[in-house]
């Protein structure tokens, strides 16, 4: 409990005049983008700030995504380093989820979606013909907005990934993977005696940590998180944020969030999206203290969504 409260008060966003999360999201739904002249949002496709980083692990180059005629992501380029946490922020519908789902080819299963551009993971093009999305998703795991454990036991939930990828040689090895994954997801203590109970019988926060355990059980290199806390109460949220602090010692984390505080607390870099454009990306401190673009400033000060 104490660590949780600590993490909430700890490391407050540097003078970020952010209104509370709920209000922001309400405003985001009814955002008045028409107030912003089109030229200003077009930007000529140029992203402000630093899209590059040292030792890039994943490199996104000129990516466009179309849903039929809807141009959802426009010319986005971004580099992601190993073991860093990068937060994607922006008003609803600006394409954060779409961008995230490009990184592990989850958009493949949407028929109308078309992705152009290049995304390199450790020097390999993940959209290359010979790249199997199944193998890719073992390296780039994903945690969803709504906790979605399988209607199976807690154990089977975590064991599923290792089983289908054949990561464990025998039962003992599988047990070890399940235990260590639950341990690292901070869930082992709570579910130690309930491994045979259905994963769906856990509380919302526990379910989300179970989903995280399930993801790290296949030992990915990058974890994508799409608003992982938006369905959780503040205490459960704080636990997940603590968890992210620990996980980033081993994994790169790309997290979509609507909470400025969360972005400020957990991330090293922040990327601000607007109408499918990557407007600005920089160190978290810099974005929150000294945003370069007017749209970014308006967003983080709560003037738009």
């Amino acid at each position: 409990m104490t660590t949780m409260t600590e993490s909430i008060t700890d490391n407050p966003p540097p003078q970020a005049p952010v209104p509370n999360d709920g209000r922001q999201r309400d405003r985001a739904e009814g955002i008045v983008l028409s107030e912003y002249p089109r030229q200003e949002t077009e930007l000529g496709g140029k992203t402000i700030g630093k899209i590059s980083c040292e030792n890039p692990f994943m490199v996104v180059e000129d990516v466009n995504v179309y849903y039929g005629d809807n141009h959802a992501i426009r010319n986005v380029s971004l580099e992601i380093a190993k073991k860093e946490v990068i937060a994607l922020i922006g008003p609803s519908g600006c394409g954060k989820s779409t961008f995230l789902r490009c990184l592990n080819r989850m958009n493949d299963s949407i028929e109308s979606a078309r992705v152009t551009g290049k995304i390199m993971l450790d020097g390999q093009d993940i959209y290359a013909k010979e790249q199997d999305p199944v193998a890719l998703r073992a390296r780039v795991g994903m945690v969803f907005q709504k906790p979605n454990p399988f209607p199976k036991s807690v154990y089977d939930n975590v064991a599923y990934g290792p089983r289908i990828h054949g990561l464990a040689g025998d039962r003992a090895e599988l047990d070890a993977i399940v235990h260590s994954s639950l341990e690292r997801a901070g869930l082992l203590k709570e579910v130690k005696d309930r491994l045979d109970e259905p994963g769906t019988s856990l509380s919302g926060g526990q379910q989300q940590r179970l989903c995280i355990a399930r993801t790290i059980a296949v030992n990915p290199e990058i974890i994508l998180m799409d608003e992982p806390c938006s369905a959780l109460d503040p205490i459960a949220t704080a636990r997940i944020e603590d968890l992210m602090d620990e996980l980033c010692e081993d994994y790169a984390i790309v997290i979509v969030t609507h909470s400025m505080q969360q972005a400020a607390r957990v991330s090293r870099r922040v990327a601000y999206f607007h109408l499918g454009l990557l407007v600005e990306v920089d160190e978290t401190n810099k974005i929150f203290t000294n945003p370069q673009h007017k749209l970014t400033e308006d967003y983080i000060t709560g003037r738009i969504g």
């Binding site: 998703r137 073992a138 969803f144 979605n148 399988f150 399930r214 296949v218």
Partner: protein
């Protein structure tokens, strides 16, 4: 403040009307339920009232001397030629020694069913040592006597309008007075095939025929239907063609069943030269009939699987096939089973398409394989309902009861299966 009050007043003013509507809604719903239950009750009551008597059958006790020189004239017993009938007749004659005129004796012999000599033959076949002894046996009475005992023949009606004469009724009364007439459980109904003699007619042939047909139907239509549903839902690209297929499947579910019978006749019997009247062909036709139902139900069940589960599985690197096999199928299985059981229930009750492929023939033998000639329960019901004998009327109702029992058993099995597979979300 003023605005708040008027809003409140408005809400309260409408409250009474809302309550009235709700009450009305409830009453209408309840009435509909009551009417439904009432009809069901009447249906079951008449069925049981008409059919329950068929489960009893009248038997007559005769002291039959199994004379060796009658049954085995040359010293060798030939079951095919032995005159069991004669033994039954003489035993009956011994009960009424005063009846000597040929015409009268012929009338007397009509009191006992031909089933009596079959019973005698079975007895000797099982135990040839009985040859030469006298046995006191209960043998089936003829269906006319059975009807008399069950009160279906009114002795006040003019003699020429009855199937039993005054004289015959007198004999039965005297036999009964000697304690030689008894109502017993009608085993023949469950162990015999069809027969021209109502007292010997049973549903076993039809039950076995129906069972074989459903066996063929379920083993073909469930896997094919589920596989088609999975392909259409999970793998087929959305296109004009898949839309066309979808429309066609939906329409196929509404095609009158007799059309499937014609198709079966043309394809399976004329073209593929499969045997007529066989449960195999019946099962194939019923497969065509139930396939659309199973496909539609299975697709609905697959669509009902939450997308979040698919995403979760895809997200940790399951392939499409693994998503389907590990997650979609187990979750959709209860719904698919429901579809299968609806299809099977429909198949069990179908008679029209079976008429087209010759399963309406009069078949005495119980089918021993998928290609033996057979009938099905609904067709048997149709055949018996069409028979003029009074005794077939109660057997028709009894066969319907058996059909409903079959149906109930199937549904029960499905419910048990579904309960086992259902999981909490």
């Amino acid at each position: 403040m003023a605005i708040e009050k008027t809003t409140r007043e408005k809400v309260e003013a409408g409250l009474a009307r809302r309550h009235r509507k709700e009450a009305l809604f409830r009453v209408v719903g309840m009435l509909a339920t009551v009417v439904g239950v009432l009809f069901l009750g009447i249906f079951f009551a008449t069925l049981v009232a008409k059919g329950s008597t068929a489960f009893k059958q009248t038997f007559v006790q005769l002291d039959i001397t199994l004379e060796a020189d009658v049954l085995a004239p040359g010293g060798t017993l030939d079951l095919g030629y032995a005159d069991f009938d004669g033994l039954v007749r003489s035993a009956l004659g011994k009960q009424f020694p005063e009846v000597t005129a040929r015409a009268d004796r012929r009338q007397l012999y009509r009191l006992v069913s031909v089933g009596a000599s079959y019973a005698l033959r079975d007895l000797i076949e099982k135990n040839p040592a009985l040859l030469g002894t006298t046995q006191s046996l209960w043998v089936p009475a003829s269906s006319d006597v059975d009807m008399l005992i069950k009160g279906n023949i009114d002795s006040n009606v003019d003699e020429s309008l009855r199937t039993l004469s005054d004289q015959q009724i007198g004999w039965v009364t005297r036999l009964a007075a000697r304690g030689r007439v008894e109502s017993r459980f009608n085993k023949a109904l469950f162990t015999n095939g069809d027969s021209r003699d109502p007292e010997l007619a049973g549903v076993k042939g039809a039950v076995v025929g129906s069972f074989y047909m459903l066996l063929v139907t379920i083993t073909l239509s469930f896997p094919i239907g589920v596989a088609a549903a999975i392909y259409l839902e999970e793998f087929a690209p959305r296109s004009r063609l898949s839309d066309l297929i979808e429309v066609n499947i939906n329409n196929l579910a509404a095609v009158p069943s007799i059309v499937f019978g014609l198709l079966g006749l043309a394809v399976f019997i004329d073209w593929m030269a499969l045997p007529r009247s066989a449960p195999l062909v019946g099962g194939l036709v019923l497969t065509l009939l139930t396939l659309p139902v199973i496909i539609i139900a299975s697709r609905a069940a697959i669509q009902a699987v939450p997308p979040s589960i698919r995403e979760a599985a895809l997200g940790i690197g399951a392939s499409n096939t693994q998503v389907v096999v590990h997650h979609v199928l187990p979750l959709a299985m209860p719904g698919m089973l429901t579809g299968a059981i609806i299809g099977m229930s429909r198949a069990l009750g179908e008679s029209a398409p079976l008429l087209m492929i010759g399963m309406v023939a009069f078949i005495v033998d119980v089918p021993g394989s998928l290609t033996d000639p057979a009938t099905a329960l609904p067709v048997q019901i149709y055949l018996w309902a069409d028979s003029p004998e009074r005794a077939f009327a109660e057997r028709t109702s009894a066969a319907i009861i058996v059909l409903l029992g079959f149906l109930l058993l199937m549904n029960f099995a499905a419910v048990v299966l579904r309960k086992r597979m259902e999981r909490k979300w």
